[in-house]
């Protein structure tokens, strides 16, 4: 596949992520922070997000598995995850965290367990999408092309 085709495929793919609500405008902020002096900024932040989120999801699973659940602790973890997902523009993860927090306030075990599943699902979905997108970018760069900037008419 030649570079022009790859670039078009990347643009279409990235646009779909915004259309489907996986990413929001904050992700564009991240892309704008990437330049010649910081060519790997997006990859670095996204990798940090993956590591951080997986740890938080593990902590959440353990916290909700206790005989007596400490909802303050659970809420603190969700607050962190909501913060990081919001900062990178992972909109659906962020929204799932917002719902999660309201059930933490109610101290509703069943609902919070469902929320955890929901957050995990959204997280793995966006992780998959972002990895695919970054792989497409890598292929373009390896073929000597440049990564096209996305213009969105919001």
């Amino acid at each position: 596949m030649e570079v022009g085709q790859m670039q078009r495929r990347l643009v279409d793919y990235t646009k779909s992520l915004f259309m489907e609500g996986f990413l929001d405008a904050q992700f564009l902020q991240l892309q704008q922070l990437q330049d010649e002096s910081n060519p790997d900024f997006v990859v670095e932040v996204v990798s940090l997000f993956f590591d951080d989120s997986e740890k938080l999801l593990n902590d959440l699973t353990m916290a909700l598995d206790q005989p007596s659940v400490d909802f303050k602790k659970v809420d603190a973890h969700v607050h962190q995850l909501k913060g990081s997902s919001s900062s990178i523009g992972a909109q659906r993860v962020k929204n799932a965290c917002i719902a999660f927090r309201s059930f933490c306030e109610e101290q509703n075990i069943d609902a919070t367990l469902r929320c955890l599943q929901q957050v995990k699902q959204e997280y793995y979905l966006v992780k998959n999408k972002l990895e695919t997108m970054l792989r497409l970018e890598q292929q373009i760069v390896a073929a000597g092309g440049s990564i096209p900037m996305i213009e969105l008419g919001f």
Partner: protein
């Protein structure tokens, strides 16, 4: 370099390097503010702040040498405090893009140590900081409590403190402003927020 003149505005190519712009300013001093407005929008953030510094020294009125540009290159030192790793990375990049020197701290206690107000501050390690930007919600000591400690210090009370939060709670905001915070910013931070901060900071210093 090709440019077009449209009434009082001069349009320059988006990639015009600042040094070439200075040459234009010395030829078209009356129009320098307008040129600044257009080019400001198209430059990358680090070039924008350099251009602002050059202009504020009177580059428009006909003579700003390369030497002066270097002299003006002092970068404000910002201490950024946030317990979230991704947010720390983001705020650091945003600030560096606005030509700030950045030190990060992962909680309020570490910040206090760095500022010389902590119990564990080592002799001779206190650094000068021009602004502190801190998250509100942090484990242990909150950003609000950190703000209070800073304002209680005779040495540090003049340092502008900015509070950030992901939650838009009016009572929280007014509480921080009343305690002396310079600004309250909603997360997630964007480049435009940090630009606003920088202008504020430059104003304070002058």
């Amino acid at each position: 370099m090709a440019h077009s003149v449209l009434s009082d505005w001069i349009y320059l190519p988006a990639q015009t390097p600042p040094s070439l712009l200075l040459n234009y300013f010395s030829f078209f001093p009356l129009k320098s503010n307008q040129i600044f407005l257009i080019s400001f929008l198209t430059f990358s953030p680090s070039k924008q702040s350099l251009l602002y510094k050059m202009l504020s020294c009177g580059a428009g009125s006909g003579g700003c040498s390369k030497d002066m540009a270097v002299e003006l290159g002092d970068e404000p030192h910002v201490l950024a405090v946030d317990d979230n790793l991704i947010d720390r990375k983001l705020v650091e990049r945003l600030l560096k893009n606005s030509s700030c020197k950045v030190t990060t701290a992962e909680n309020a206690l570490r910040a206090l140590d760095y500022l010389g107000l902590g119990n564990d501050t080592l002799e001779g390690t206190v650094s000068e900081v021009n602004m502190i930007i801190t998250d509100y919600c942090m484990p242990g000591m909150t950003g609000y409590e950190l703000l209070k400690k800073i304002k209680e210090s005779s040495v540090l009370k003049e340092v502008p403190v900015v509070i950030m939060s992901s939650e838009n709670i009016p009572t929280r905001i007014s509480q921080c402003l009343e305690e002396g915070a310079k600004m309250f910013m909603l997360k997630p931070l964007k480049q435009s927020d940090v630009k606003q901060l920088k202008w504020h900071l430059m104003k304070c210093r002058n």
